[in-house]
Amino acid sequence: MIALGLEGSANKIGIGLISHPSANEPPIVLSNLRHTYPTPPGEGFLPKDTAIHHRAWVVRLIKQAVRQAGVKIEDIDCICYTKGPGMGAPLQSVALAARTLSLLWGKPLVGVNHCVGHIEMGRAITHASNPVVLYVSGGNTQVIAYSAQRYRIFGETLDIAIGNCIDRFARTLMIPNDPFPGYNVEQLAKKGKNLVDMPYAVKGMDASFSGILAAADLLAAQIDENLPLEKRLKTEDGELVTKADLCFSLQETIYAMLVEITERAMAHVGSTQVLVVGGVGSNKRLQQMMGLMARDRRGSVFATDERFCIDNGIMIAHAGLLEFKTGVTTKLEDSTCTQRFRTDEVFVGWRD
């Protein structure tokens, strides 16, 4: 069976084709294309402009993806699209494209929960059987474990998502958005060595990141190079605190929070496997910290690279096809999208 997946819940539009040969064989990625809406340093992406970007690229990408996959339209069994959660306008553009294709080609639609897409893709790639999932991206921060036909949320952010926190932190420090802010923060952090105090807010299995941003604004003002030397922020040894130090401190602080809530969830459900998915999951330092934690618990960590971590069409196709095989489709009149769509609302009929 072959599915086409369309993803566009944030600033990336992803189109992918996946094939599930049979029940016992691993899925095959036929094509996996993505285009990111670029923004200049200091700016984020607005829903309206992002939707325009997606509309401009969607046809080109679908054509290219189908050609690259080398499949005929007749071979495709269903069209999967992101139903939510995400930004309204970009979601709508992509849902519209999905509906059009469905009518044009006479294929059934499957609306997919974005978070479930990430989880299923991560599981398929890493072969982790029943892990605790840390889902970290620009819009989501959740600690998830599977139980009785649902992906249950054990912990989550109480305010903003971790990726949002990193992006806005990068904006404050005027760090470029290309290829993505988190990557640039990660590279800068490698040069930092001084730990600056930042708010560390973990409540049980939940975490809060908004305080970090408020702190970042204050810190950024204190390291401004136009300030007189005596007013600049210094370490205890009198060294000037640099942008790199702030990136380093940010990473050390927020990733420690993530690892801590993940560890608590693992202790709670008695699992030793942890799977990291979502765009922030491609961060090497986070993966390393998670590995150290898992080693202490005699467990293992699973992660994927940026092709599957960062939003992509394949994961939507994969999760959609799993659902399609249980007999679930989305009727045209129900093929809406929604900004709020909790992971635990999805009935997971394809797992035991």
Partner: protein, 312 residues
């Protein structure tokens, strides 16, 4: 899958044995539990015959050492302060016998008995049924005492933060606590606040770096941990343990969430015990002045769940 994955280099899993800081380097240790934060051991403290619980927060290798020190210290002190406040205000919690915030350990009084979870499981295993329990059954009394114990904690301005039936203990048998020799405890004694350790011992243990050696009266070695659960285990003081997530707050919202967490834990671990849990809530409502308004708030919390709706 046709594509290769980039799994980070995780060192091969190995059993990490934490070397405990002094003075526990050579203590006899029995691991009781490994939580996310702390290792909990049974050991002895000050004398070879003083059983105690050692709660050790090992350094987290993934955390920056400065951040790790800061967090360990702050959390350990916060937990100890809550416990000391509870003792002072007459709530039955394990006494803090000593701690070292820099090195991440805290020693607590040994509480003889079992968890409510174990007691209830034992009661079910012994033929008890949660549905249609008759009025005179001891399990009702247990529920009432749980409600009162939680109410008492909330009344003094503390929220436990992680109320589960595993974190509620039923103290059984003879008082395992030093300084008391009244013999077996009965239910009528439970409301009385206890000053169990000689205060000099406790204060000295808390303030000095290396606990001094105290001359203590000789005593019987501790009885072995009880194995079989019987119905008599339904009797006994409720002792709240594990205040690692506790906060000092008097907000109805926080208290209601505390109850909600307990309710969910009850439903998850003891299916069918809903009617019994109502007795916990009823006695909670009567246990202190603010109890009823917290129960009203609990209805709101139940409707929305602990989590808010997800944005984006």
């Amino acid at each position: 899958m046709a594509t290769a994955t980039d799994t980070p280099a995780t060192p091969p899993p190995q059993h990490t044995i934490h070397i405990l800081p002094a003075p526990f380097t050579h203590s006899p240790l029995t691991l009781l539990a490994q939580g996310a934060e702390a290792l909990v051991y049974r050991t002895v403290f000050l004398t070879p015959h003083t059983p105690c619980v050692l709660k050790y927060r090992p350094p987290k290798p993934y955390r920056h050492p400065i951040l790790d020190k800061r967090l360990t210290k702050a959390r350990l002190l916060a937990e100890a302060r809550v416990l000391v406040k509870c003792r002072k205000d007459g709530v039955t919690v394990p006494a803090v016998l000593g701690l070292d915030a820099e090195n991440g350990w805290m020693v607590l009084e040994w509480v003889e008995g079992g968890s409510v979870r174990g007691v209830l499981d034992g009661w079910v295993a012994g033929g008890g049924r949660f549905e249609g329990v008759e009025a005179g059954n001891g399990v009702w009394g247990l529920m009432r005492r749980i409600g009162r114990a939680v109410g008492r904690v909330h009344d003094i301005g503390v929220c436990h933060g992680d109320l589960t039936t595993s974190n509620l203990m039923v103290r059984t048998g003879a008082s395992a606590v030093r300084g008391e020799s009244e013999g077996p405890q009965t239910q009528t004694q439970m409301q009385r606040p206890k000053r169990l350790t000689p205060s000099a011992l406790r204060e000295a243990a808390m303030t000095s770096d290396a606990p001094p050696v105290f001359e203590l009266p000789p005593e019987e070695p501790p009885p072995p941990p009880s194995k079989a659960q019987s119905t008599s285990d339904l009797e006994g003081d409720i002792v709240l343990i594990d205040f690692g997530l506790a906060t000092q707050t008097v907000q109805d919202e926080d208290r209601a969430v505390d109850l909600y967490v307990l309710e969910r834990a009850f439903a998850a671990t003891h299916p069918g015990a809903e009617a019994l849990f109502q007795e916990v809530l009823r006695s909670y409502g009567e246990s202190y002045k603010g109890g009823r308004s917290v129960l009203r708030k609990l209805e709101d919390v139940r409707l929305r769940g602990r989590k808010r709706s997800m944005l984006g």
